[in-house]
């Protein structure tokens, strides 16, 4: 053992140290990379959590604007600001900080009305079953259990309160997704007073009796309050400047070609009579949104009780608009004896009850209408929904950025 051996020991030690250092530095870099990815994910999760908490608070209380200030969560901190934007929109900005990094989630929400639905079935309508060949053209909700047989098609997002029961081939097509556990009850009776108030303050309002309306394609409306009376014709902007025509505890009869933007209401604020709508003939838009998506003709019809499609002897009956019935549904008069044909509904149908529209027979013994509904895509936009239409009393997410 001389000097050479010492040199060798030193040499080997140096080699081992160098290679050990290199190995450990690669290991450290690898770990740093993994941690960086983890932190990125964690930061995002914290920011999303803040946004979700804010959404929940806002769903519970529409007036909630407090936000969260420096709330600790899972090793990070959350700040949430809630601000009102024009058009009744609400913006939620959730900012998370974690390990010195910051992440923002921005959510825009808007109040939701029933006009967004192609179909809404209240508690009593949930017994109905959608079957192969049925198509719901847009968003739909069932305030009960959604029942399907075979492969009906739901073009928009479908929600239900109590889940989904599938029978037959069990292959419903949900093109906008399906979500269970969503409760969207119809608003209470008193909430419809706002429509009447709007009619009284800037539109047309009437208590009791009958109101007969015939819309004309030139933007006028012919109206009377007794069956035997003669019609008076006025421009819509004169008859109901704000577009709201409300009748309380009476019967509304309507038909014609609407050129304008109108919300009709037949209410029953109290008592046991009135609050019905009878559609006496075709009720259509002057500019058909199917051929002209830019059509600015908008109709909302709010009724306490049933909508009745009067028996006018026609085999094709067209109704265009969003039809909302608080305690009733869509009735086809003489459905088991009138000539067989089609009831074509363009818009939405929000009802508490579903009724038969035909006698269910085939061939020459068939009577009544096939119900053919199509969603008016314009109603997906809040700006295109009828004014003063019943609200779901909740916000819906318009956009989510994370």
């Amino acid at each position: 053992m001389g000097r050479t051996s010492i040199y060798m020991v030193i040499g080997f030690s140096t080699i081992f140290l160098m290679s050990g250092k290199n190995m450990s530095s690669v290991g450290t870099e690898s770990l740093t990379n993994a941690i960086s990815y983890y932190e990125h994910s964690q930061l995002n999760a914290i920011a999303v959590t803040g946004a979700n908490l804010a959404c929940t608070a806002l769903f519970s209380n529409n007036a909630w604007r407090e936000g969260f200030d420096d709330m600790s969560f899972n090793g990070g901190h959350i700040d949430v600001d809630v601000t009102d934007l024009t058009g009744n929109l609400v913006k939620i900005v959730s900012t998370a900080t974690y390990m010195g990094r910051e992440k923002e989630v921005v959510v825009i929400m808007r109040p939701s009305t029933f006009a967004k639905f192609a179909f809404y079935g209240g508690t009593n309508a949930s017994a109905a079953m959608w079957e192969t060949g049925d198509t719901v053209g847009g968003p739909s909700h069932t305030q009960g259990k959604l029942k399907t047989f075979g492969s009906p098609v739901f073009m928009g997002k479908a929600t239900s309160l109590s889940g989904l029961t599938m029978t037959g081939t069990k292959n419903p097509q949900f093109l906008g997704g399906f979500e269970s556990g969503v409760s969207i009850p119809m608003p209470p009776l008193t909430s419809y007073n706002a429509i009447y108030g709007a009619g009284a303050s800037g539109g047309y309002a009437q208590t009791g009796g009958n109101l007969y309306l015939k819309f004309n394609a030139d933007g006028t409306v012919s109206w009377k309050t007794a069956a035997a009376a003669a019609y008076t014709t006025q421009s819509l902007s004169t008859f109901a400047p704000n577009g709201v025509i409300a009748l309380d505890k009476g019967s509304l009869f309507v038909e014609g070609t609407l050129n304008g933007r109108v919300t009709l209401a037949s209410l029953r604020s109290a008592g046991t009579t009135g609050g019905t709508v009878r559609i006496t003939n075709n009720l259509v838009y002057a500019s058909n949104p199917l051929t002209n998506p830019a059509s600015d003709d908008i109709l909302g019809v709010v009724s306490y009780g049933d909508f009745t499609i009067a028996d006018n002897g026609a085999t094709e009956f067209n109704a265009q608009g969003s039809f909302y019935s608080y305690k009733g549904g869509l009735q086809v008069e003489n459905f088991n004896s009138r000539p067989a044909g089609n009831l074509r509904l363009l818009g939405g149908m929000m009802v508490e009850y579903l009724y038969a529209t035909s006698n269910g027979a085939t061939g020459t013994s068939r009577r009544g209408y096939n119900l053919k509904t199509q969603f008016d895509e314009r109603m997906a936009e809040a700006a295109n929904q009828p004014d003063y239409f019943p609200s779901t009393s909740a916000f819906e997410i318009l956009s989510w950025l994370e």
Binding site: I15, N22, S30, N33, A34, M155, G156, G177, A383, S399
Partner: protein, 218 residues
């Protein structure tokens, strides 16, 4: 210098030679290991880059600063199959933390797909492919980050797997993204070259996710 001295010299040379060979072998082994670990790191870094890019883009699926531009969220995905997806979004015009990150309100599209293995011929790995990310109608430029697997699987609202290509992208509610990244070259002779799959460092990432909140919001 006697014979004993010569024998000592020979013996010491042999001992030294043996030690030198050991040192050289040790050095080679260390170098290979180091190279292997370094390549593992590169593969891992590439995978993190790819997965973060995908995550950030997919989270923006169906988002637009002007939400009225996407009135029907279910129409967001324009095309989907097992190696390609095209969807609508609003691309950021600035870094995160700036207002530009929220987009400009104009509708954009992003297309992701992988090319065939024959495209990436400049690397020894026969399995790697170019990953393409195309904004709107821009000319596709692929990057080779060693992606060997880019597999997309789609599921409907009832969690049924959808065929590829998806006949109606509106059905898509959930998706599974799988990415495998491999090193571009084999590592040294110490590795097991008999089994082909073991000679390229590889990292794997899979995520099953709701497509995007914007597709289910209304």
């Amino acid at each position: 210098m006697g014979s004993q001295t010569i024998l000592d010299l020979i013996a010491s040379t042999m001992v030294f030679g043996g030690l030198l060979l050991m040192a050289l072998r040790l050095n080679i082994g260390n170098t290979e290991n180091l190279q292997s670990y370094r390549m593992d790191l590169v593969v891992q870094e590439n995978l993190v880059e790819v997965s973060q890019l995908l995550e950030d883009d997919f989270k923006r699926m169906g988002y637009c600063l002007d939400a009225s531009k996407i009135p029907n969220p279910s129409m967001t995905i324009r095309y989907a199959d097992s190696i390609k997806i095209k969807f609508l979004t609003d691309l950021p015009t600035g870094q995160e933390g700036t207002t530009g990150w929220r987009g400009d309100g104009a509708l954009d599209s992003i297309t992701y797909y992988v090319g065939p293995t024959s495209e990436a011929t400049d690397t020894p790995n026969p399995n790697d492919r170019k990953l393409y990310r195309v904004e709107n109608n821009a000319t596709p430029y692929g990057v080779n980050l060693g992606v060997t697997t880019f597999d997309l699987q789609f599921y409907d609202a009832l969690r049924n797997k959808l065929p590829s290509p998806v006949p109606d992208p509106r059905l898509i509610q959930y998706m599974q993204i799988t990415i495998e990244v491999q090193n571009y070259a084999k590592i040294g002779g110490q590795m097991n070259t008999a089994a082909f799959d073991t000679v390229y460092q590889s990292a794997f990432w899979r995520q099953v996710r709701i497509v995007a909140k914007n597709l289910r919001n209304r």
